[in-house]
Amino acid sequence: MKKITGLLILLMALVACNSKKAGEPPISFLADGGLFVLNQGNFTYANASLSYYNPADQSTMPSVFHQVNGVPLGDVAQSLSVFEDKVYLVINNSGLIYIIDRHSGEFITKITGFESPRQLLVLNSDKAYVSDLYANYISVLSLATNEITDKIQLGRSSEAMVLAAGKVFVAHWSEYNQTRENNMVMVIDPETDQLVDSIQVGKEPNSMVEDGGGKVWVLCSGGYLNLENPSLWQIDPVTKQVIQSFYYQEKQSNPVGLSYDVLNQSLLFLNGDVFSMSTSDADLPSNVFIESGDRNFYALFVHPDNGDIYLSDAGNYLSNGMVYRYNANGLETDYFDAGIIPGFFGLNR
């Protein structure tokens, strides 16, 4: 009898195991505190993907979106934002934003009606702004209905956005099909959704951060055709005045990916290699902080809790890229596989 009972229990256990499809991810497998890596993929190839890295156990998971939802992520995944229990995935050339559950990766809904969405900035639980490479306005999203509710006319296209001193600073990055020069940071009042000011900076402002002292830093690459020397600008978000600016000596330089290290109060950016400078430095850094060697560093992320630096390597832009993890001192501590052109990071919290 005991043998029969044992067999029955074993059989039931087997049936229970088989009820879950092989390879199917668990319901909540995206651990809190992990890192989303958004892989752009190649333009018009719709081979973007979402990777996941858990620093706690150094585990990785490729193609989360496809694994969970069974469809490709889309064409050129540009950026992501995590808010509450949702991840907003901005798929640039597909002209849409996917919203997924940040624990399970499951599709919740999508938002359409964009021309070429680039970045999403969450302002509060009700509202977010979406910048756009082609449109000359910012789209205002209702996070309650997941619909576009308004458009803030800028007269320019938009890229990076930062919320500082109660205002939203928007970089006019691309000059593609633009009549106005791409050297401005536009200022929007999120209370009224009105454009209230603009600040002239260098050509092609590509990334912005707010430092610990509440100042906004703007990194400008000088233009696709290297029309002017790249530059770094510090702005007072209250007075909306430029505090100081630094010009790179080499016109051919292409600094991108400005990031802020909260713990060390320093700025990091990519210019082939990784460079670091204190917000109080009087000059641009001349020494390399992390050498790229034969790696093609593409995106940079500094973990706010421990200062760990994550650098993506886009390789030849064709094959899957890699992500390298360094400690705050610039020593490599780990690496993991990503998808094609890993271009954006986001913390899962």
Binding site: N42, F43, T44, A46, N47, G74, D75, K110, N316, S319
Partner: protein, 647 residues
């Protein structure tokens, strides 16, 4: 006089031809004459693989484009973005730019793209097509590493006058009308051909590239394509002939987005106008064929992209209005002569001037080229043929490399149509103007491509064995292409053309044909298979099969006729393809293989001098869901019905 009256009446009819009108030939059983071989040699003494598309096949595909026909009749790979949109053809593991298309001997390949959009070549305007493979293309043109397709409009289908119309109505609001009129008076022949095709192309498909997965209707894929050709041919004394032939075509088409991008608020379309005219004189004395001809090709194509806002679809956000005008002037002088003692000599002189005015370039770009080709062949002992040729071009102040070809054909058994053919050649291709100058991705530092190729083949045919005709051939080839030009992704999501140091391609092609006539029955069948293994040998690029070159391709058909009824089944298989050079196989870079089948059935009725034919045709018979190009939606099963009238 009656003929002239018929001509005038028909011209009037053609101008008022609308969807729903009668038109063009489906499969004129009265007109099954095989096309003449364009070359001056009979096919049994060629030294390289050659394939002739005969009139029967041409009739079957009369309402389709050249790409659709080749996908079923030749061992080539047709990469189609969907009906009415870009369609390119590649041979023997080579790229689409390594395929050339000639019309009356003049190259149709765009100097900007280097390739031909086969969806814009309507079969209805041509009387024949010949396919040349590998090194033998050097007789006609340089740069066709894979092969070339030679189209012909001059060869008259008939030496008598006739008028014919064909009209087809198909799924997705597709209407095709064609008309042809041939007027033969003494030594003068006038042939007018007109076609018009329009389609909403709004097929339904399951979009499994977006969430939620849903059934969608293809949008912004409609196209309109119309044009005409006119040939005047005058035969004079002493074997002389004067001709002028013109081919004019207008196209307007929307370009649908890929399946992941259907919600993007954008409109993308292209409109083209092409006008090509050839004026020539030729003389055939029996011993010597001389020909002088000049051509002027004008192409005007505009690409238009705009994104619109969601609240006002009229409010343009961004605009790309790319306008491109290409003018090409060419002169050819050919002489082919029998020198006696089994020597044949051919000399060709080509002059070409290309001018491209494009908004995508910084300034007008021109190219000038003068080419001489000398070919000598000799037959020995009635079982050995040796052919050697050299091609030399002088372009924009410099000589290009000398391109040699050497081929032999051996007939080892005097009593059997069995041939062994071997050839070796060198080839050369300069970067296209887009590859060099297209802003901002053009790469002016690109090196030209150089190819070394060898080929061997066996042909065997059996004729009239109890009414059966059988033919078999097997070819094997090996090509090394230095500085292969490949568009690769780079910074800022731009794709940029770069040289791959070396690409090797090796493969096998095999085909079998069967024809059988018994009592009132006719049977015609063909099967082909092609294997192509093409890999880069480059430190920077992984050794994987080059993108969009399937290792395996197969096609075939079976046509059965009984009295006035005909039925035909065609099939083609396209093997797995990689879409990038990424060595890791993933769902986003690997397109699965697919089989497509089509079947047609029809009948021919004759009342007095009038012939009436009807036909129905079903495409993608088994409703296969497939992608020919990554994330491009393709239609499932669809059909068309056609009526043909001739008198």
């Amino acid at each position: 006089m009656k003929s002239v009256a018929k001509y005038v009446v028909t011209l009037g009819f053609i101008f008022f031809l609308k969807e729903g009108a009668l038109a063009q030939a489906v499969f004129d059983t009265l007109n099954l004459m095989e096309f003449e071989v364009v070359d001056y040699h009979a096919s049994h003494v060629i030294t390289s693989k050659t394939q002739t598309i005969d009139s029967l096949d041409m009739r079957e595909f009369n309402q389709q484009d050249l790409g659709e026909m080749l996908s079923l009749l030749a061992p080539v790979y047709v990469k189609s973005y969907g009906r009415g949109t870009l369609s390119t053809v590649s041979f023997r593991g080579m790229a689409a730019a390594h395929t050339q298309v000639l019309w009356e001997g003049f190259r149709l390949n765009s100097p900007m793209l280097g390739q031909v959009d086969f969806s814009q070549v309507p079969n209805a305007l041509f009387t024949g097509a010949e396919i040349k493979y590998g090194g033998s293309t050097l007789l006609y043109s340089g740069g066709a590493f894979g092969g070339l397709v030679s189209l012909n409009s001059l060869t008259p289908e008939n030496k008598h006058s006739y008028v014919q119309f064909e009209q087809s109505v198909g799924s997705f609001e597709t209407f095709t009308s064609t008309a042809a009129m041939n007027l033969a008076v003494k030594n003068f022949v006038s042939t007018t051909k007109v076609f018009r095709q329009s389609s909403a192309n709004n097929f339904t498909y399951v979009n499994n590239a977006l969430l939620p997965v849903e059934t969608m209707k293809q949008k912004e894929a409609n196209f309109l394509n119309y044009g005409f050709s006119q040939l005047f041919n005058l035969s004079a004394a002493n074997g002389q002939e004067w001709y002028i032939v013109t081919w004019n075509q207008w196209t307007a088409r929307d370009l649908p987005p890929i399946m992941t991008n259907v919600f993007k608020l954008q409109e993308e379309n292209q409109s083209d106008f092409t006008s090509r005219t050839v004026l020539g004189w030729r003389r055939n004395t029996g011993q010597t064929l001389s020909e002088v001809k000049a051509a002027y090709f004008h192409e005007n194509f505009n690409y238009y992209l705009r994104t619109v806002t969601s609240d006002s679809l009229q409010n343009t956000v961004i605009l790309n209005d790319s306008r491109n005008i290409i003018n090409t002037g060419m002169v050819k002088a050919d002489m082919k002569t029998d020198l006696g003692k089994a020597y044949l000599l051919a000399i060709k002189l080509d002059l070409e001037h290309q001018s491209v005015d494009s908004r995508s370039y910084q300034g007008l770009k021109t190219r000038n080229e003068a080419t001489v080709m000398v070919s000598l062949e000799k037959s020995f002992f009635n079982w050995l043929l040796v052919k050697a040729l050299v091609r030399e071009a002088f372009s924009d102040g410099a000589f290009l490399p000398l391109l040699p070809y050497l081929g032999i054909s051996v007939k080892p058994f005097s009593g059997a149509d069995f041939y062994v053919r071997l050839n070796a050649s060198e080839n050369y291709k300069r970067p296209t103007l887009n590859e060099m100058y297209f802003f901002p991705m053009g790469n002016p530092d690109l090196l030209p491509e150089r190819a070394s190729q060898v080929e061997g083949s066996l042909d065997y045919s059996l004729t009239s064995i109890s009414g059966h005709n059988l033919a078999f051939d097997v070819s094997a080839y090996y090509s090394r292409v230095h500085n292969w030009i490949q568009w690769l992704p780079g910074e800022f999501e731009y794709w940029k053309p770069l040289n791959v140091e070396l690409v090797e391609s090796r493969g096998v092609e095999a085909s079998a044909q069967w024809k059988y006539v018994v009592n009132s029955w006719t049977f015609n069948a063909m099967a082909q298979y092609a294997y192509a293994h093409t890999q880069a040998q480059d430190e920077e690029v992984q050794q994987v099969q080059m993108p969009y070159i399937p290792m395996h391709r197969a096609n075939g058909y079976l046509a059965v006729g009984w009295r006035k009824y005909q039925m035909r089944w065609g099939t083609n298989f396209t093997g797995e393809r990689f879409t990038t050079l990424d060595p890791e196989k993933t769902y986003t870079n690997t397109l699965p293989s697919f089989w497509l089948n089509e079947v047609s059935a029809g009948a021919t009725f004759k009342v007095g001098k009038t012939t009436l034919e009807t036909r129905i045709k079903v495409y993608n018979l088994f409703d296969v869901s497939y992608q020919a190009v990554l994330w491009r939606a393709m239609p499932g099963r669809y059909a068309e019905a056609a009526v043909f009238l001739k008198w």
